[in-house]
């Protein structure tokens, strides 16, 4: 049996962990605050994967500074589940640097949207399982964005073709319009994923257990992802997991 997955993303911006609401950031605390307030080792027991998304708008070398690597090293020492790192990766070499640092998977959005060949180059070397292709989507307006939600790129009608052009083990649909809202993921607007032979992650809008249940009950969806530190760090994910078990959804233990 394979379980449905709960993924927690830490949003990292220039030394701070952040909350995001419709892609607008609110700094919450630095790595010391995080380590002082939460038991990350215990947290690993309640999530299936952890993402660290570097949402700085700087070029790769500045974005992935020594400070970033030092901060994330402290987290990695406590984490016993797979870790994805993403944000601002535009070349195979940059992906390689993050794998060398300790990433199990890389998450790429804009660069693969613009250059699907990049995804093929990465997966040829590191394997298909090494790459999550994220699409930032305003489902309300039906538009896929690039550049952290700044640049409208294509309409959602083009998504099936884009997904066939990109080589990635998993695809993450990230809802810009529900991001940080706590209103749930707009699953009803993502019906196009049903016939796609891809592993799907839905991200954005999760505010309570019911939202996770609604998504994970869907046979085509493999995982839910949230980045709401204040709501789901600590006991939040443990409570969601308990609720999912009670609802008959298969999660690992």
């Amino acid at each position: 049996m394979r379980a449905k997955r709960l993924i927690f993303n830490f949003l990292y911006h220039n030394g701070s962990f952040c909350l995001s609401r419709n892609f607008r950031l609110q700094k919450v605390g630095d790595v010391s605050w995080l380590m002082d307030n939460f038991d990350i080792f215990d947290f690993s027991n309640h999530v299936d994967e952890i993402g660290i998304i570097n949402i700085s708008d700087q070029p790769f070398e500045e974005r992935y500074s020594q400070t970033f690597f030092r901060d994330i090293d402290l987290l990695l020492e406590k984490i016993t589940v797979p870790v994805t790192i993403g944000g601002g990766v535009t070349t195979v070499s940059e992906a390689g640097k993050l794998f060398d640092f300790g990433a199990d998977k890389i998450l790429i959005a804009s660069a693969c949207l613009r250059r699907p060949k990049l995804s093929h180059d990465i997966t040829t070397i590191f394997g298909a399982q090494s790459l999550i292709f994220q699409l930032d989507i305003d489902f309300e307006r039906g538009i896929v964005f690039a550049d952290n939600g700044m640049t409208p790129f294509v309409t959602v009608d083009n998504l099936p073709q884009i997904l066939m052009d990109v080589s990635a083990g998993e695809v993450c649909l990230n809802s810009i319009d529900r991001d940080g809202s706590g209103m749930g993921f707009p699953t009803h607007k993502a019906g196009f994923v049903e016939d796609l032979p891809l592993r799907m992650i839905f991200s954005g809008g999760f505010g309570e257990s019911k939202h996770f249940k609604d998504v994970l009950n869907h046979p085509s969806i493999d995982a839910c992802c949230t980045s709401n530190i204040l709501n789901f760090l600590g006991d939040g994910m443990a409570d969601v997991r308990t609720d999912l078990v009670q609802a008959g959804i298969l999660v690992s233990s």
Binding site: M1, R2, A3, K4, R5, F41, S44, N45, D48, L76, E77, I79, T80, V81, P82, V83, F99, F101, G102, A103, D104, K105, T124, I125, F126, G127, A128, Q129, S130, G169, E170, P197, L198, R199, D222, A223, S252, S253
Partner: protein, 216 residues
């Protein structure tokens, strides 16, 4: 060679061949207070025995074998496992490359430490599942290491090891069942341990495997 001191007398050497995730293995061993070292070149080990050797892996079969060969690890791993008969553990593609041949990334010859080939999960007859197989899967059959039965471990792969028909030559063999398909999860034979899943990313259940390997 990077050393880390632990409370145990035995030390695990981790093979760094440029394509595996070394850090998560090191962090897991650190949590267990198991002494370990990362070894980049086999010449360091030809002179003095490595004791326990662990081959991590996150890359394709062919990339892994090419990387191992480029620095002479292939010859040392065979020496270590077959001639010196010392404990060797392979994880994910580090396990797959123990096979005779692999298909991922183009046909490539492996180390031939086990009588098996590495092919697409959907090779042959039986249910075809969506690839890659990603996530925590439950071990449904476990001969040998019975404590693994019903435990959850993290898998992330599109290819897997297919042992020859006679699988009863192993001390232990484990399977998970995913969408009706039997997935080989691990084998143990004398000094050889291989796991398709990642013990280092499988919470406490995975840490226990690393701990037990250190006692081999």
């Amino acid at each position: 060679m990077i050393n880390s001191v632990g409370k145990r007398s035995r030390k695990i050497s981790i093979v760094d061949y440029g394509v595996g995730n070394i850090k998560s293995i090191c962090n897991s061993l650190k949590q267990l207070s198991i002494a370990h070292q990362v070894v980049s070149e086999p010449k360091e080990l030809w002179r003095s025995s490595a004791g326990h050797l662990l081959v991590p892996g996150v890359a394709s079969f062919s990339s892994s074998m090419r990387a191992l060969r480029s620095i002479g690890w292939d010859e040392y791993l065979i020496e270590h496992a077959s001639i010196r008969e010392l404990p060797l553990m392979g994880v994910c593609s580090g396990f797959q490359i123990m096979s005779r041949v692999g298909e991922e990334g183009g046909a490539e010859v492996g180390l031939s430490l086990i009588d098996a080939d590495c092919r697409s999960i959907n090779h042959g007859s039986g249910p075809q599942i969506k690839l890659p197989n990603v996530g925590f899967c439950q071990i449904t059959e476990s001969d040998g290491m019975t404590e693994l039965r019903n435990k959850w471990f993290y898998f992330v792969h599109s290819f897997m090891v297919f042992p020859d028909e006679c699988a009863n030559g192993y001390d232990g063999i484990q399977f998970a069942c995913v969408e009706g398909k039997s997935i080989l999860a691990g084998i143990q034979k004398n000094n050889l341990w291989g796991f398709q899943f990642h013990p280092e990313k499988s919470r406490l259940a995975g840490l226990k495997i690393l701990d037990r390997f250190s006692e081999l």
